[in-house]
Symmetry: C2
Subunit: 391 residues, 2 copies
């Protein structure tokens, strides 16, 4: 029987206060996170931002116990998934590959080679594809494959995104139902999906399918929730963590919360939809900052749906995804990272994956916007990155 490696991709997070600065450096040194007109500026800028802002970010991590729980939770998910797959007859071993902190992708690849794995299933722990999350990790894997013949020779099946997978949708709906049932007015509890935002230009100009997948996902979850609770609840989808003056996906979480506050919403059920594990954006941004904003604005009961973590039906859904990937056609990294060929605004200069001419043009344009926004926030000391604790 083939020995299957399950490579779980995630962001990573600093586990000790002194790791916050180096973690921020890694994050901002990624061209998928900040696109600069000249790549030579990437590292100095990453150094500058991470140095200037690490004490502020350390404060946020201190407020959630001194570090990110992401590695621990991801490793628990990896163990549970491995056990379940073995019970289902797959000779599976799980590996965790973080993008910006330990254990890095390199470690996972070294382990996979040492364990004599025959085939790898790449499973991003991001349900929705975005250039800046799964896309960045796929590119990292491409880079490592190019540098390593043995890794390059290993058959690899990618799962691009799974926002519409029944196991995931059902699990989300079940956890939301817990909070709906705890509400004072069950039928009118307002379901508030808060997705991590991206600049609008990523979606409209670069063709990032993220927004479309988030919207479809929220609709699927709402339909599933209705079958569970037996009635249709009102809902809102908003985007958190915006950076600088450039337009990001709308509505913004802050504004949407204020509006629901003004409407004296009795029961708000906040759903972190982009990530599947507790981390700084749920434990600090939503639980502390948005809770304060919402209740000050007039929301009476602010409830947050827990992240999926190792919720058994969720892990079971991940196992289904892996089995389907093994039985289906092989999807390689290029296919998994592909962007749609038609984009809304400038079809004549479509975004292409990689460092070709056309993407360079867009890298440059996006970079000028993003870079200005960053500088403005750095100088002014105000902006959404401060809110997330990243700046």
């Amino acid at each position: 029987m083939a020995r299957v490696g399950i490579l779980l991709l995630n962001l990573g997070g600093p586990e000790r206060i002194q790791d916050v600065g180096p973690f921020l450096y890694n994050l901002f040194a990624d061209p998928e996170i900040i696109r600069l007109p000249n790549p030579i500026l990437q590292k100095p800028l990453a150094w500058l931002i991470s140095t200037l802002r690490s004490s502020k970010s350390q404060e946020a991590y201190r407020s959630i116990g001194g570090g990110s729980p992401l590695r621990r939770i991801t490793e628990q998910q990896a163990r549970e998934l491995q056990s379940l797959l073995r019970q289902r007859g797959v000779d599976a071993t799980s590996y965790v590959a973080m993008r910006y902190w330990h254990p890095f992708t390199e470690s996972a690849v070294a382990d996979i080679k040492a364990d004599g794995i025959d085939e790898v299933v790449v499973l991003p722990l991001y349900p929705h594809f975005s250039i800046s999350t799964s896309g960045s990790s796929f590119r990292e894997l491409q880079r490592l494959r190019q540098m390593d013949e043995r890794f390059e020779a290993l058959p690899l099946r990618c799962i691009r995104s799974w926002y519409d997978h029944p196991g995931y949708v059902r699990s989300m709906a079940e956890l939301i139902a817990e909070q709906v049932r705890a509400s004072d007015d069950v039928e009118h509890a307002h379901i508030f999906f808060s997705a991590h935002g991206v600049p609008k230009s990523y979606v409209e100009e670069a063709g990032d399918p993220y927004q479309q997948e988030i919207e479809a996902c929220a609709a699927l979850i709402m339909a599933e929730l209705e079958t569970i609770v037996g009635h249709s609840n009102p809902h809102t989808l908003a985007y958190q963590s915006r950076v600088g003056p450039v337009e990001w996906l709308k509505p913004y979480t802050e504004e949407a919360l204020e509006e629901l506050g003004r409407a004296k919403t009795q029961d708000l059920v906040v759903v972190p939809i982009s990530f599947v594990s507790e981390h700084i954006e749920t434990l600090e941004e939503i639980d502390i900052e948005y809770r304060e904003l919402a209740t000050e604005s007039g929301v009476v009961n602010f409830r947050r749906v827990r992240a999926l973590d190792t919720y058994p039906p969720f892990i079971s859904g991940l196992a289904d995804l892996v089995v389907a990937s093994l039985e289906g056609p092989e999807v390689n990294l290029d296919q998994a990272a592909e962007l749609p060929t038609t984009v809304k605004l400038y079809p004549q200069e479509k975004w292409e994956w990689g460092w070709n001419n056309s993407s360079e043009v867009w890298n440059g344009r996006l970079a000028m916007i993003g870079f200005s926004a960053f500088l403005l926030e750095l100088i002014s000391g105000h902006g959404p990155l401060h809110a997330v604790g990243l700046l």
Copy 2:
């Protein structure tokens, strides 16, 4: 049944070339590794050494595949030990706590708390106690316990050293026997124990029991080897990785190898005795540098005994140690870290554990010697730290 956490302590090692510098920084920032007269100099010196020497050390790591295999092997040991303990009816979960690299002790402690562990067995993966290895990790744990009430409240049983444990001694003898049997002249194959050295002052002035435990260990292994192969082989014990002009434990590995070369030793069987896993000191220092030195000096066949890694009788021995620790009296960190009360040279100023007056005096004295040695090596560019790839 009590949930038992097995906390495995080890050194850690850089897994990617870009991690070599930060790893060296952590190593040299540890006062158990370099003792300075003034602690305020510790971090600048660590920064200086790690910056100056990281490219040389990177070269050594490149020669063994681009990084240390220590995390991977230690995690494999942890998994095997956990499985075996569960088979024996102990509800055990293993955790890896590295001293100088990821996964750090903090991560292991966070995992232990999250998993609701009732009791912890601390098992250093160093068979012999030394101030600079197990001692440093015990102190790190003491520091973390003082900072964390929940961790401090957790019952903790320490295993101080286990160089004389039958499972370990037997495993070592079996792996040595493999190489003896592969020798041309089985009865005269020369067993060469190469232990990691420490400054002589650590042993003679500070009372580090390391040398005594190494010597007793080598004797036990030789006796066991005789029962396996049926004859008594000649053997030598030497110490590798010396730093600077100050005297370390003798004989030095380099000199002992040259002497055996001059004696035209036909079959040399080199035994790395201090560590239980493959790492830079076995894969690079012994396999590349000492092999070259020995064969150039006249040794005909140079064979190196593989590290124990996940050798099943070794893992079984570790499981015995854990079970005995759970059944025996509780040994706390202070007891595990204790040094003998009588020391050879200056009994009136005996070394005491911690930062009390008497140890300060010794810290200062040792530091002046160690620091001068370092500076000399830094300036001259020659010395044993270069040989190990650390400088």
